[in-house]
Symmetry: D2
Subunit: 247 residues, 4 copies
C-alpha cells in the first residue's frame, strides 16, 4: 500500500475534440482537469484516453494503478470488450474504481453492477443540491451538509443499479427529481465509487467540493493491502477434535 494511491485518470476524450462548446470548458480534456487537483494534492497521477493503444489500459498500465478514475459518454461502445473485462478483473483483484457521471453506462461499470445502469436525464441548466446522507463517511470528509452546483444536467431515479453498500450522497434537482449520486460498492477485493456530477458542458470539475469528493473517493477506494484470495479445490480439512478433549 502506497501512502497515496497511484491514480490513472481515463477519459474518452471525444467531446473536447469534436464539440467547441466542450473544448471551451475543458481545453486540454476532462482528464487533465481531473488530474491537476489530484496531482496538486500529492497523488501520483497519470492519464489515459480511448484512442491510445489498448485505450491506454494495458496490463502494465493497470498493474501500476491503485485507483482508476473513469469518464466516458459518447463512445462507450468503442471500448473493446476484452479491455472492459480486464478492468473488471483488476477491480475484483483489488484496484479501486471511481466512475464519474455518464460513466454509469460504461462497459466496466455495467459489467461490475450486473444491471442496466439506466436512468432519466434532462439538460435544463438546473440547480443540483447534493446532500450528505452519511456524514461520518470518509468520502464526505470536509464537506458541509450539502453543496450545490448552480447548473448541471439532471439525472433522475429510478437509477437501475444494485442498492449501494453505502449511500453517501443524494441529489436534489430543481425540476422535481432525486438521484443517488454517491454510491459505494465492494466487488471482489476492489472498491467502486460512483459519483454523479460532471456533464461535459459545465465547469463541474473545477468546483472545489467536487474535487474534494474525488480526492476523498480515491483515498477510500485505494486497496487496503494485498488481497489474499484463493479459489478451487481445498483438500485439507481440519483435524478432528481430539478424542481426549474435554468439551
Amino acid at each position: 500500500m502506497t501512502p497515496l494511491p497511484r491514480i490513472l485518470v481515463w477519459n474518452e476524450y471525444r467531446h473536447e475534440t469534436q464539440h467547441p462548446e466542450v473544448a471551451a470548458v475543458y481545453p486540454d480534456g476532462i482528464h487533465q482537469a481531473l488530474a491537476r487537483p489530484l496531482a496538486a494534492a500529492g497523488f501520483p497521477v497519470r492519464t489515459a484516453t480511448l484512442d491510445q493503444p489498448e485505450h491506454g489500459l494495458s496490463e502494465a498500465a493497470l498493474a501500476g494503478t491503485d485507483v482508476l478514475i473513469w469518464w466516458g459518454h459518447m463512445a462507450h461502445d468503442e471500448v473493446q470488450d476484452e479491455i472492459a473485462a480486464r478492468v473488471q478483473q483488476r477491480v475484483l483483484a483489488g484496484m479501486g474504481l471511481v466512475v464519474l457521471h455518464s460513466g454509469h453506462f460504461s462497459k466496466p461499470f455495467k459489467r461490475l453492477m450486473g444491471t442496466s445502469c439506466d436512468l432519466k436525464w434532462r439538460e435544463a441548466d438546473e440547480r443540483e443540491r447534493i446532500w450528505v446522507l452519511a456524514p461520518g463517511h470518509p468520502i464526505a470528509a470536509g464537506l458541509g451538509e450539502y453543496f450545490e452546483l448552480p447548473r448541471e444536467e439532471m439525472y433522475g431515479e429510478f437509477f437501475d443499479i444494485p442498492a449501494p453498500d453505502e449511500l453517501v450522497f443524494m441529489s436534489w434537482f430543481q425540476g422535481g427529481e432525486v438521484f443517488r449520486s454517491g454510491c459505494c460498492y465492494t466487488r471482489g477485493a476492489g472498491r467502486i465509487f460512483y459519483f454523479r456530477p460532471g456533464h461535459e458542458t459545465y465547469p463541474t470539475y473545477y468546483d472545489a467540493n467536487v474535487q474534494r469528493v474525488i480526492a476523498n473517493a480515491a483515498r477510500w477506494a485505494a486497496p487496503a493491502g494485498p488481497a489474499r484470495l484463493s479459489f478451487g479445490h481445498r483438500p485439507i480439512p481440519i483435524e478432528p477434535i481430539g478424542a481426549g478433549q474435554e468439551v
Copy 2:
C-alpha cells in the same frame, strides 16, 4: 401466521382533541383514518390511544398483534418507559412495527434505532414528491414511479437513523431538501418500516397512495412465522469427525 396480519393502530390522539384545525381534518382521530382503509382491505384492525390504561398496549393487547402502527408527536414523553420497552421487546420477538411521520421521535423507534432520529423540518405547504427507489419491493407494489402530496410538512436530511436495510422511498421537497421517507429494518425477528408522510394538519392519510403504502407495509412487516430464538449456554458440541471417515 394469519392470512392477513392482525393490526393495532396506535395514536397519541392529542392534536385532534386540542387543535380544532386538526380535528377538522381528522374528526375521529388519525387512528380511525388509518384503521378504516385497512379494515376495508380485510385486515383485522383494532386501535389504541395514549390515554387508555397502559396506553392500550397491555401484554395481552400486544400478544394479539402482528403489526403495530404508530403515530405520535406532541406527547412522546408521556409514553411510559416500561411500555416503550415492552413494544421494543415484542418487535425483537417478531411483531411488525410501522412508524409514521413524527413517530420518528417516539420512544419505541428511538430505542430500536439506537440513534437520535433527529431531522430538519419546515411547515411551508410544500409539494412532496415521493420517488420509488426499489421498484421490485413489496411495499412499492401498485405505485407508479413516484407519487405526490400537494402540501406537506418538509422533513430534511441529515436524518439520524441507521442506514436502512432497504431504502424504498426518497422524498423530494419543493424548497430544496431530500429525505429517506421509506426505510426498512429488521431488528431481532421483527420488521420495522418507517414512512414519512402524515403531518396532522394535512389530509395525507386519505390519500390513496399513502393508504396503499401502509397496507403494503403491514403485509411486509407481518411475522413470517414463529421465530425460533434461543440464547445462553449451549452445552453440546457436535461429535467429532469419525476417525475412520475418509475426507
Copy 3:
C-alpha cells in the same frame, strides 16, 4: 400477481444422463425432484432443460414465468450467451431467480452479480450445518435455528459475490470452513436468491428443510406487481413554486 408464482425449474440435466451414480439419486432428473414438492404445495410448475430448443427458455416461456429456479454444473458454457442475457433482462424486469448450488458459476448468475462467483470446494462427505442468521426472514419461515445435511460437498469462503442485501443462512462444515449459503439480492425490479446445498451425488433435494427453503424462496422472489420502470429523456420539470406562495 398470481396467488402463487408460476415457477419454471431449469436443469442442465447432464449428470443424471451420463453418470449412473447421479441417476441413482435423481432417476428422472434434478428438475423433477425440485418440481414435485413445489407442485404438491400448489405452485404452477413447469420444467426446462439445456438440450431443449433455446434451452427451454424462449421469450414465451420466460414471459409465463414468475420465478425461475436454476441448477447447472458441468455444461455452463453450453448455455448460449444470448439466452443468458435474456434471463438477465427478465430478472431486471421483475422475474424472480433462485440459483442453486453449482449454479453459482452459471452465466445468468455471474452476469447479474458482476463478480467471479468463485469459491473453495471439497468432496468429502462432510456434515453441513446451516444456521439461520435472519430468523424473521420469510425464507427462513418454519425452520429451526439450524438444520443439517449429513453429507454434502463443502463450499468455502471467500465466495466472490457482492455482499448480499440480506444474508439468511450461513453454513458450517465439519472440515473447518464457513459459507454464505443463503443470499438475497435485488437487481432491477427482480429478486434473486442463491441457495448453496444440492451436490448431484447426494439426496439433498429430498430433504424436507431444503424443500421448505426453496418454496419459501419462490414466494419471496415472486414479483410484487408490475414494475414501473422508465428511462431516458424526461422533458418536463416540475412547475416552480408560485411567486405569491408563502414559505
Copy 4:
C-alpha cells in the same frame, strides 16, 4: 483529524483483580495488554477502568478521544446509565467505538444497537477459525484468508444484532457453531466495530492477528473529519426557478 486517532482503552478490570487464573494471563489488566501494541504502533493511547471516577469516561476524557475500545463482562450493570448515554452521544457525534468480546452485552453497545445483543456460548477450549468475508476491507488488511485461535470460548448464532453494514469476519467453531465475529456499523457520524475474540482466560490479546485487527479497526473507526450535523427548524427554502429560466 489527527494522523493516528487518539485511543482510549476502557476495561472493566474486575476479572483480573478477582480471579487468579485471569490475573495469570493478564497480570496488569486486559487494558494494558490492549494498549501496549497500539502504543508500539504509534497510536496515542490512554486507558480507563470502571472503578475510576465517572468510570474514567468524563466529558473531558471523551472529548480527547477519537476511538474508544471497550472490554467488559461481569459488571456491565455497574456502568452508570448516564455515562452509557454519554458514550452513545459521543459516538453519534463522530467518536469511533470498538467493542470487544463480552462487550456485546455492555450498555453502550446495546443502546446503540437497539437489540438484545444476546447469543449462545460455551466454554470448551474449542478452536476458533476466523474467516475473512471482506478481503478488500481495511480491517482485514494484512491478514490471510483466515486465522485461528487454538482455544477460545464459543459464541454462536443467532446473535441478536442488526445486520451489520459490513460483515468482515465469520467465525467457525469446532463444536458446530458459526458467529458473525467482525461487524461494522455507522451510527450518526460515528463508526462502530464489534470484534468477537477475547475471553479473559485465554491469551487472545497477545495474538498478532488479533492485535492487527484491533489496530486496523481503530484506524477505520477514526472520525473522518468534523461532522457537520444540524437538526431542527430549517426556515429558508430554495428560491424558485426564475420565471424567465428556460428548462
